[in-house]
């Protein structure tokens, strides 16, 4: 019987010829990633009684959630992580001057085709954009891997999501992701592998593919995955942190479900508060006034996202009743956007340019909303209280929608300004 891409990777990683959905396999992950939560993980690790981590070369720790530390507690956490990293000789440590973990994993060449990547963050589905098997796991499980080097995984059933057709003007990967989640629902793909295929996906940039795998977590998926191709290899040139193999799903692979979409039918989309699958066409949102626009996060803080916003805002001013915050996803993004004049355009339009990191996404840091305020955000979650205040509302949209909204002060269809 043929295997899906996810099945193939898990078969290889567990040294088997074939695996089937439902089967449990044990694998040594290529990388195990964690972020500021490493402070809690290292305490659990110490409880196991194990003195040295299994392999200091395979542990990746990236500080990004609360950077630089906003309180003494967070500062102490960071300190304990830095001490642990030194004591254990962990080589792949990236301090507060690097960027958001999922972006850094890609940029620093950890996201490799057919790698097995697990991480203590629900959006660890992101490396699937490179043809890796990548899934979020719990903190105790990360501690257990640090100690033993292995993890058991249940082979998930796979769904295939096939997208063909060209995006119309003003429609982007984010709109497609929101449309799919609205259709599949927030629990529609629980524990499944979601494999994205089709011409539209092939035509997408790596950055746009990452939007889809990143947001796979929002339909409950265990992992999202896209076959690697020449674009992937091009991106990896000079970055890849190790050897890799490009795998393909078998022709006769079995998928539990198939979804098909035509990208040319799409319009800009908005996820309304307070769930990501509460998705509507943008015209339903158009008279909603916002107080803040947040451009950034592991979903949409890359150069192409900042660039489209700059195109819309060039030579114009952000509406005076709106605060626009820009958090590039990493310092690499920051530097490229700086060199290309993108940051200057955004700053001159009145946006506040912040340091790379998660920023207001999880409500633990800068850019918190006041009671009753509304925010248009390019992030992946709009749960009640997500940005630090349960009395505020978060609407999700694309970077182009974010820029158009910043300009007008109310949720605006980017097709009006492009």
């Amino acid at each position: 019987m043929g295997m899906t891409l996810t099945e193939k990777i898990l078969a290889k990683a567990s040294g088997k010829k074939e695996v089937q959905p439902g089967e449990i396999v044990t694998v040594e992950p290529t990388w195990v990633m964690s972020h500021d939560n490493s402070a809690a993980i290292l305490l659990k690790f110490k409880k196991t009684g194990v003195k040295r981590v299994w392999d200091p070369k395979k542990i990746v720790i990236i500080l990004d959630h609360t950077v630089p530390a906003p309180t003494a507690d967070y500062a102490n956490n960071h300190k304990s992580i830095r001490e642990f990293v030194r004591e254990q000789g962990i080589e792949n440590f990236w301090d507060i001057n690097t960027g958001i973990c999922h972006q850094v994993m890609a940029e620093k060449g950890y996201d490799l085709p057919s790698a097995v990547i697990v991480g203590a963050d629900s959006h660890t589905t992101t490396p699937g954009a490179f043809g890796a098997f990548a899934a979020g796991i719990g903190r105790s499980e990360v501690a257990a891997i640090w100690a033993t080097g292995k993890i058991w995984l249940r082979v998930p059933e796979s769904y295939e999501i096939i997208v063909n057709g060209n995006f119309p003007k003003g429609v982007f990967a984010k709109d497609l992701a929101l449309h799919i989640i609205g259709d599949v629902t927030a629990s529609g793909a629980v524990y499944k592998a979601v494999e994205f295929k089709g011409e539209t996906i092939k035509d997408m940039s790596i950055a746009s593919r990452m939007v889809l795998t990143n947001m796979s977590a929002e339909m409950g998926a265990k992992n999202g995955i896209i076959e690697a191709d020449e674009k992937t290899e091009e991106y990896l040139r000079g970055r890849a942190k190790g050897p890799y193999e490009i795998m393909h799903p078998d022709e006769d692979a079995e998928y539990e479900r198939r979804y098909e979409y035509d990208a040319s039918d799409l319009v800009p989309k908005i996820a309304f508060p307070h769930t990501v699958d509460n998705v509507h066409d943008i015209d339903k949102a158009e008279d909603i006034e916002v107080d803040q626009v947040f451009l950034g996060t592991c979903t949409n803080g890359r150069v192409e996202d900042l660039e489209i916003a700059a195109r819309i805002l060039k030579g114009k001013r952000v509406n005076p009743r709106v605060r626009m915050l820009v958090f590039p996803a990493s310092w690499e993004v920051w530097r490229e956007a700086d060199e290309r004049g993108i940051l200057r355009i955004l700053a001159e339009a009145g946006a506040v340019i912040m340091n790379p990191g998660c920023g207001p996404c999880l409500g633990a840091h800068a850019g918190v909303l006041a009671d009753g305020e509304k925010c248009l955000s390019t992030a992946n979650r709009n749960f009640k209280g997500r940005m630090g205040n349960p009395n505020a509302e978060i609407y999700l949209g694309s970077p182009a929608t974010a820029a158009a909204t910043a300009l007008k002060g109310r949720i605006t269809d980017p097709r009006e300004v492009l």
Binding site: I24, T26, T48, G49, I137, S140, E141, A144, T148, W152
Partner: protein, 164 residues
Amino acid sequence: MGRVWKYGDDVNTDVIFPGKYTYKIMSDEEMASHALEDLDPEFAKNVKPGDVIVAGKNWGYGSSREQAVKCLKAAGIKAIIAESFARIYYRNCINLGLPAITLKREDIERFDKGDEVEVDIEKGIIVNKTKNFEIHFPPFEGYVMDIIRAGGIIEYIRMHQGKE
């Protein structure tokens, strides 16, 4: 040997272990005394070591709280047999050393509350003595079996470390 406690589909972690207790530190016995209290008040009073739970699909959806597994284990439940489990609940079961067994719906339907059953985890056999039938399931894979035998992943690591 134990008896079956039978439940339906979509039993969430809130009724397995009420949310109001999640941040209270409790002993195992106290946790067991609250197990399933909002779904089946008889359970905590009458459960005996060796009993099993048989349920429909999506057992344990909702929060990731580990107590929803721990309270059943502390109550003496030997295995949970269901048509499907919520992802995190399933992981928590294995990592806390409580076997989670998946069976097809038609097999689940052959069990009733109070049936006398014997579960052989090592061989992958469930014997229903009351109704006189046997169901086989694939035994757990090596590492997972080791974790279950050790009584949980932390215990497994401690033992493993002890041997080194």
